[in-house]
């Protein structure tokens, strides 16, 4: 299992073999507040890096979740339909959104590592 990488839009991605799991960061879930709905993509859908892939709704806002890397969606977290609060409780773990098979693993190199992301979030205040 590789290290977790982050995007500027607060998605995280973790590569395991050739399948990457994608979610939103703990910072993102805290900013959103209570998550009430998650719309995940269809399995089999191809996305380019930066495409809208999912939607997360909280009591305050609805936000798009962008594909952190390019590839094909191979799995989605079905638990979120009945328990969207999992995003708040375990954003980095049980609250994952979808899994994808990467078409260009080199894209991961352009994302932030844990330390860089922590600094990035600090700067946002």
């Amino acid at each position: 299992m590789s290290a977790i990488k982050y995007t500027k839009d607060h998605e995280w991605v973790r590569l395991d073999g050739d399948v990457a799991t994608v979610g939103i960061s703990d910072y993102a879930q805290a900013q959103l507040g209570d998550v009430v709905f998650v719309e995940v993509p269809d399995v089999g859908k191809s996305v380019q890096q930066g495409d809208e892939a999912a939607v997360v709704e909280s009591v305050k806002a609805a936000s798009e979740v962008y594909a952190p890397v390019s590839g094909e969606v191979v799995g989605v977290n079905g638990d979120l339909e009945g328990n969207p609060a999992a995003v708040n409780e375990a954003a980095m773990d049980g609250g994952w959104f979808f899994q994808m098979r990467l078409s260009d693993p080199a894209e991961l190199d352009g994302l932030m590592d844990e330390a860089t992301y922590t600094d990035y979030v600090k700067e946002l205040g």
Partner: protein, 447 residues
């Protein structure tokens, strides 16, 4: 002095920013013939009394629906609205009958909207209804767009028995959205085989119940066939009183039920404002357009009402909103709710029976005295009859004698080669004497 907040440089800056040279460029989608190319031919000034007198004279050229035997339907029905409805909707508690921007402060408004939604759910046999749309036609177009979102497909199949105005509004919104439409030609009867037209790009099939020509059809098999191909069945109801007697579309398997609520609580109003009805299955609620009121409890455990699922809406979701509707037909929905509450379930059923009985009476007299029969196997309060001469001529001739005999089908479908077909509606407001007058006049004109 007129107060115009924008100066000419302001206007130029605004137009420049969006990349057009003048304001007219923004109206190029409006057909030239419908655009004004100069000032309206009116005198520059007249006194209030003069204007009243002139307009009064013009208004007297109209034949008022309530003054004469009146048999028009076609999506707008003349029903009796009790005076108590008018009284209730003018109460100060309802004075701001608009969905408010700070919604929870107006519990009365939210409560009647919640009750309105409950009434629509029960009438249509669906699990969830919204707080209303502009009218039946826009509700139908919104239902098509919703089906596209739910199914992630982009083609809709429209029955040839859908009200032509509804078809037109669906066409408009589909064109603008880049969606595809398959439209059946208008036919009075026979199986349209709509499910055969559903392919893997098709999100929905739209039918009307009772249909534009007045016929009542069971859509249970169609619903199953359409759903088996992965699409949704949308049922549009233009005469909502019919649901007091007919099987609810939800019970036939409809996925979205839309309709026009004018018949309950609202007058003909020259064609608007009306009130669009929109109901669907719980599982599709997040893709449903419009405002939605929910019942909840406050911090003291007391019953209260809120606007719910607002994240579907434009003020939160911006360009990703399910619809650009940010409002509802508040006053018309209030009138609907008040009238429906006064009627109650038993009252609505009685009203529906009264409507159907009037039409049965009309049909039996028509058959016995003119030999003409309705083209419909089954109907509620509206029929289509083939006359021996063009219907438009007959309607025109009867109108000269203060009888409004119905709607010539050619008026709404000029190219359908149905010139001799006449749409006749009979509601509870039609008296036996009105029927006498119509039958004798028809006998004379068609003899």
């Amino acid at each position: 002095m007129r107060y115009l907040p924008l100066s000419q440089p302001d206007r130029e800056a605004l137009l420049g920013r969006i990349g057009v040279t003048n304001i007219d460029a923004l109206f190029k989608d409006v057909p030239g013939a419908a655009r004004l190319d100069g000032p309206v031919d009116l005198p520059p000034h007249a006194s209030e009394m003069d204007v009243e007198r002139q307009l009064g004279a013009m208004a007297r050229k109209n034949i008022t629906a309530g003054d004469v035997p009146f048999f028009c339907g076609g999506g707008a029905y003349k029903h009796h609205v009790p005076a108590s409805v008018d009284h209730i909707i003018q109460r100060s508690e309802f004075l701001t009958s608009y969905t408010p921007y700070q919604p929870e402060i107006t519990q009365g408004t939210l409560q009647y909207l919640f009750e309105f939604q409950t009434q629509i759910s029960e009438l249509t046999g669906m699990e969830v209804a919204n707080a209303s749309m502009y009218d039946g036609s826009t509700a139908t177009a919104e239902a098509v767009l919703m089906a596209h979102r739910v199914k992630r497909r982009k083609k809709a199949v429209l029955s040839g028995r859908l009200h032509p105005h509804y078809t037109g509004v669906v066409e408009n919104l589909s064109d603008m959205g880049g969606y595809e439409l398959v439209q059946k030609d208008p036919t009075l009867s026979g199986d349209e085989k709509l499910a055969d037209l559903v392919d893997e790009d098709t999100s929905c099939v739209v039918v009307q119940y009772p249909d534009f020509f007045g016929s009542v059809e069971d859509f249970t098999e169609l619903a199953a066939a359409v759903q088996a191909k992965g699409a949704l069945l949308i049922v549009a109801v233009t005469e909502i009183v019919s649901l007091g007697l007919l099987r609810a579309p939800g019970d036939m398997g409809a996925d979205i039920v839309v309709g026009e609520g004018q018949s309950i609580g609202n007058g003909l109003n020259f064609g608007g404002p009306y009130v669009g009805l929109f109901a669907t299955r719980q599982k599709f609620v997040r893709q449903m357009p419009g405002r939605l009121c929910g019942e909840t409890v406050d911090s003291d455990g007391k019953r209260g009402f809120v606007l719910t699922l607002s994240t579907r809406e434009q003020h939160i979701r911006r360009d990703k909103a399910t619809s650009n509707i940010c409002t509802n037909s508040g006053l018309c929905a209030l009138a609907f709710t008040a009238h429906m509450t006064l009627l109650g379930g038993a009252g609505l059923r009685k009203l529906a029976i009264l409507n159907h009985e009037k039409m049965l009476e009309l049909v039996s007299r028509l058959e016995a005295e003119t030999g003409m029969k309705p083209a419909n196997d089954m109907f509620f309060n509206e029929i289509t009859v083939e006359l021996p001469v063009p219907a438009a001529q007959v309607v025109e001739a009867l109108a000269k004698n203060n009888i409004i005999a119905g709607i010539p089908v050619s008026r709404l479908l000029p190219n359908a080669k149905m010139d001799n077909q006449l749409l006749i509606a009979a509601t509870e407001t039609v008296t036996d004497r009105d029927i006498d007058t119509l039958i004798s006049a028809l006998k004379e004109v068609t003899a």
